[in-house]
């Protein structure tokens, strides 16, 4: 049966896999002899290969960023509201690329992949990867695709950190860096939340020191708790109040002690936790929370982020959301301050929103208008050079 998608949807998409045999040296000192990256592309690369846009995904995201899969025509990619013909990231103008990061669990090499040395899943033996490692692996994918310079690299949250790192590590390969709802590094409180999430997984009896694949189980309870905790940090007090209030599922309080879900918010969090366990791997969750904790581009530059940005050549657009307390606007302003001190081209917009950290996935008018204004400009540059 043919599917009918909205006219501004890119329609059916399918992932591709790039396999790499050249070893990748990692920041942790180890290296991956071979690895694969799963990715999707939308739109067409132009003749002088100048219209490529890289989307970097966040903690629980993946390469399926827009469009629909044949076998799941109801659920589009995670940022479909922003990517497509006529959308802010316009696939008529740009060749859009997104890959599942190393260490992920959606097809790129990660803890669930088979370790060629042991012929068993890597599990907890998968090396810790950093944002810099990701950027280096993405650069190899760019080489493979024939992209020497990205017109723009765009990411929210952990994705924004990758966009920043790209501009620092490969200054000549990034024309525009769009850093959304990110931070220059994690705060002690950010790390604390990650630590509680990790402890939830580590203390699950089904975790088996990360070798749960061999026991035919998954640490469901631990991963679910980790996700529920994480989810609270993605929302805001006002947003939760608006969405759930103190509404009861059954309309009255039972004063019971069996801790079934009584309030809507409890039911919502449990649902989010359950759904996550079915689509995500606990070792990947542990790994990527560590990747977040270790991210600190200033560390290589005397703890001065502006020195790190001295080498960048990209134009930056930094966006934050008022009710985001995971990576609050003050954290984005630290990035902007460092960019200004480094004399970089940079703009900053603080979008009023009650959606908390999750706002970076929402089609908020000022947010999308800002992206559209920036990317229209990027497209004009691309076309001026191509002409």
């Amino acid at each position: 049966m043919p599917h009918h998608f909205p006219p501004d949807s890119i329609g059916l998409v399918s992932p591709q896999t790039a396999h790499f045999d050249e070893p990748l040296a990692l920041d942790c000192g180890r290296s991956l002899a071979t690895y694969s990256l799963v990715y999707e592309t939308y739109g067409a690369l132009n003749a002088d290969r100048s219209n490529a846009v890289l989307i970097c995904h966040a903690l629980s995201g993946d390469h399926h960023v827009a469009g629909y899969y044949e076998n799941d025509p109801a659920k589009p990619g995670w940022w479909d509201n922003c990517i497509g013909p006529g959308k802010p990231i316009d696939t008529r103008e740009f060749f859009v690329v997104c890959c599942n990061n190393l260490g992920g669990c959606k097809g790129s090499t990660g803890p669930t992949a088979i370790n060629p040395e042991t012929r068993k899943p890597y599990g907890p033996d998968f090396p810790i990867v950093t944002v810099k490692d990701w950027v280096r692996s993405q650069a190899r994918l760019a080489d493979r695709l024939g992209v020497t310079q990205w017109a723009a690299i765009i990411g929210g949250s952990l994705g924004g950190m990758q966009a920043m790192q790209w501009a620092i590590t490969f200054p000549e390969r990034v024309r525009h860096a769009l850093v959304i709802a990110a931070a220059p590094r994690l705060s002690a409180m950010n790390i604390a939340f990650n630590e509680v999430a990790r402890q939830a997984i580590l203390s699950d009896p089904d975790f088996h020191h990360g070798h749960y694949y061999e026991f035919g189980v998954v640490p469901r309870r631990g991963l679910m708790l980790a996700r529920m905790l994480g989810h609270i940090t993605y929302l805001s007090d006002e947003g939760m109040r608006a969405k759930f209030g103190r509404e009861l599922r059954e309309g009255k309080i039972d004063f019971n002690f069996n801790f079934d879900t009584e309030f809507q918010v409890e039911s919502y969090l449990r649902h989010q936790g359950h759904a996550f366990v079915d689509r995500f791997d606990a070792n990947t969750y542990l790994l990527i929370t560590k990747t977040l904790d270790y991210f600190d581009p200033a560390a290589d530059f005397d703890q001065d982020l502006s020195v790190a940005f001295h080498r960048a050549q990209a134009r930056f657009l930094v966006i934050s959301f008022t009710s985001d307390w995971r990576f609050a606007p003050t954290r984005s302003r630290e990035i902007v301050q460092a960019l200004v001190r480094a004399g970089r081209e940079a703009s900053y917009v603080e979008v009023p929103s009650e959606f908390g950290h999750d706002a970076f996935l929402m089609p908020i008018p000022l947010y999308h208008d800002t992206l559209r204004a920036c990317l229209t400009r990027v497209a004009q540059e691309v076309n001026a050079h191509a002409a």
């Binding site: 657009l317 302003r333 902007v336 301050q337 200004v340 001190r341 004399g343 081209e345 940079a346 703009s347 900053y348 917009v349 603080e350 000022l366 208008d369 800002t370 204004a373 920036c374 229209t376 400009r377």
Partner: protein, 197 residues
Amino acid sequence: MRPELELISEWIRPGARVLDLGCGDGALLAYLRQYRQVSGYGLEIDAANLVKCIQMGVNVIHADLEAGLADFGDSSFDYVIMTQTLQAVKRTEELLDEMLRVGRQGIVTFPNFGFWRCRIQIALQGLMPVVKTLPYQWYDTPNVHLFTLRDFEELCRRKRIDILQRMVLDYAHRPHPGPQWWPNLLGEIALYRLGRA
């Protein structure tokens, strides 16, 4: 607006680093970038203006001037500019101080409340003045401080701010000779270049 941009740009050294407080749609920065090869940023609070600046490729930073310029270091810009904004901020003195802390020089433009038409309207008609450069009614004006050239120069003297240059314009932002002779009576818009030793 165009002649005012030209006049301001004549005061700006080519290649300078500029911060434009309340930069609006970014027209001044775009002009200075083209004709004076400046680099820099605009600060703006209005959402529609932020989007316009980004569309024009002008660096714009979302900020509330009333909160001061704490994000910017001492003497980190050659010029800090404030066009038609000083009369609309509450903390006038603090902002002037911040301007001359962050910038080596400041450039300020504002509508002159001492213009003869203003004087006549309030003196003879007993009404709050409505003129081309101050087009608002008393109840819908964004301006919170109305002042004359003499008021401003008195404040500068008291705050030990040096007036390096002054230009007085008519409503169409043209520097006619008349207003230069009798600025506080015939001038409708004032341009100042300021410094602090």
